[in-house]
Amino acid sequence: MSEPTGPVLLRFDHASLAYGRARVVEDVHGSVHGGEAVALIGPNGAGKSTLLRAVLGLVDVVSGRIEVLGSTPARARRDVAYVPQVDTLDAQFPVSVGQVVLMGRYRDVGWLRRPGVRDRALADDALEAVGLAERKDDRFGTLSGGQRQRVLLARAIAQQPRLLLLDEPFNGVDAVSQQALLAALRRLQDDGAAVVVSTHDLALAHLACDEVCLLNKHQVAFGPTEATLTPELLRAAYGGQALELAVDSVIVAR
């Protein structure tokens, strides 16, 4: 992993988040640079999804600030792409892989207009980037879970985002799809985009991410991967859910 070279694209400034009156995440602090990948790690219910939604401007920041691409989350939304978990989608929906990826272009196409030649080209390239170009005309639901996740990533890539947010994209995904996902993310980073990915997979974090944010309703740590994924900090993040196996390695329960 190289040193971060890009400008700060996402900055958390002691941000605390709330749904209505209930505070759900406290004091997140750190920044993400262009070209970097940051893993968001913590037990279920820690607030990872909430944090991602806050970056999108969909959750109230009750103290501190979140700065996205130098601006507020709502204003920056145009250049931020979100990849949801694939099992939130209806597999029976009569839409093709190509149509799903094209959806990534809709916002830029704008209201009242139809996607043009350039939009379709971008969509095709994005599908190519995740290695599924030959499945373009198949119904979305006929693909495997991992392949569908890749299609959702392609949809995000088609947006040409500067910041990419992924909500547990590696859950239950086969090895081939995992490789494809990582390769596509790598390419995006090389082009200067920043990636924030929530995951339970520590090995993947070690492999693919420059920094890690450990979260359990409040920030436990935010720093370079090696330094942050220590047994002590992981135990602090996962509470009693961490199991110590050997002196310097920890197995973490979901």
Partner: protein
């Protein structure tokens, strides 16, 4: 073939056919969305909440007032329903059911004050497609055009929202606003349908064509084509059946209801075809 064309020699049957085809086509397109978004219950609620508007329009301004009364209530109830449904992540079935019955009861109370109560009630609930006049055809055409225009302009956003509401929200689309538009479209179809098939039977037009299409196709274009085709066929055959029965056999088959029955039969055919395909595969 002559059997199928014979009924349409007189102007009144031609008008009835035009109404059935226009209404059927528009409702069929909307029904694709209703089925994909699982809005059948919401559509049913809307058919009941538009009803008091029909009665009030009729009481205030006679037959030509129906459209206006219905339209006002269509807008009002759309807003109410959308807000209710948007309040929580899951649709509030109970509060919608209360709205449905409350509005409907208001409508029945109002119409029962008329001396021509039973006749008016059956006309509003089940339509009088045989006495549709040119003005009503124009109303249907205008509403139909508005509906298709809305769906055409907002189609891709409605599709995105239908498929991935979280993703649409993340992209900055106001999901509640999009839902409002679609619910309004459904309510407008109810307004257009009152004179022809009535508020009770219109739910069939708003659900069955799309459902039949979904059975037979996996692509949006295919589903829509089949839905429209089914609705058009049902309109045609239903009117033929009720005319032939009445004129040649002295058998009374209420025309609007017969169209709906044929539509359901066609759905049965679609289901049979779909099952046969699955068995063969």
């Amino acid at each position: 073939m002559r059997y199928l064309l014979e009924p349409f020699g007189s102007p009144f049957m031609q008008r009835a056919l035009a109404e059935a085809l226009l209404l059927g086509a528009v409702a069929a397109v909307v029904s694709v969305f209703v089925v994909l978004r699982r809005l059948s219950f919401v559509a049913d609620v809307l058919t009941h909440t538009v009803f008091p508007g029909v009665v009030i329009g009729f009481v205030v301004a006679g037959t030509s007032g129906i459209v206006w009364g219905a339209s006002v209530f269509a807008v009002l109830s759309t807003v109410l329903i959308t807000v209710l449904a948007g309040r929580s992540r899951v649709t509030e079935d109970a509060s919608m059911a209360i709205v449905l019955t409350g509005f409907f009861a208001v409508g029945v109370v109002l119409v029962s004050r008329q001396t021509s109560f039973t006749s008016d009630l059956t006309a509003f609930l089940f339509g009088r497609i045989l006495t549709v006049d040119r003005q009503q055809l124009v109303v249907t055409a205008v509403i139909g055009a508005a509906v298709l225009l809305l769906l055409g302009l907002l189609g891709k956003e409605l599709l995105f929202r239908a498929f991935d509401p979280a993703g649409a929200e993340a992209r900055g689309y106001r999901v509640l606003a999009l839902d409002l538009v679609l619910n309004l479209v459904v309510a407008l179809v109810v307004v257009a349908a009152v004179r022809a098939v009535g508020t009770v039977l219109v739910i069939a037009l708003l659900v069955v064509p799309g459902a039949a299409g979904r059975l037979l196709s996996d692509r949006l274009a295919g589903i829509t084509l089949i839905a429209v085709g089914t609705a058009l066929l049902a309109g045609w055959l239903g009117l033929v059946a009720s005319w032939q029965a009445s004129v040649n056999h002295g058998l009374r088959l209420a025309s609007g209801a017969t169209v709906v029955l044929v539509l359901v039969l066609l759905y049965g055919v679609a289901a049979a075809i779909a099952t046969a395909r699955k068995v063969r595969a």
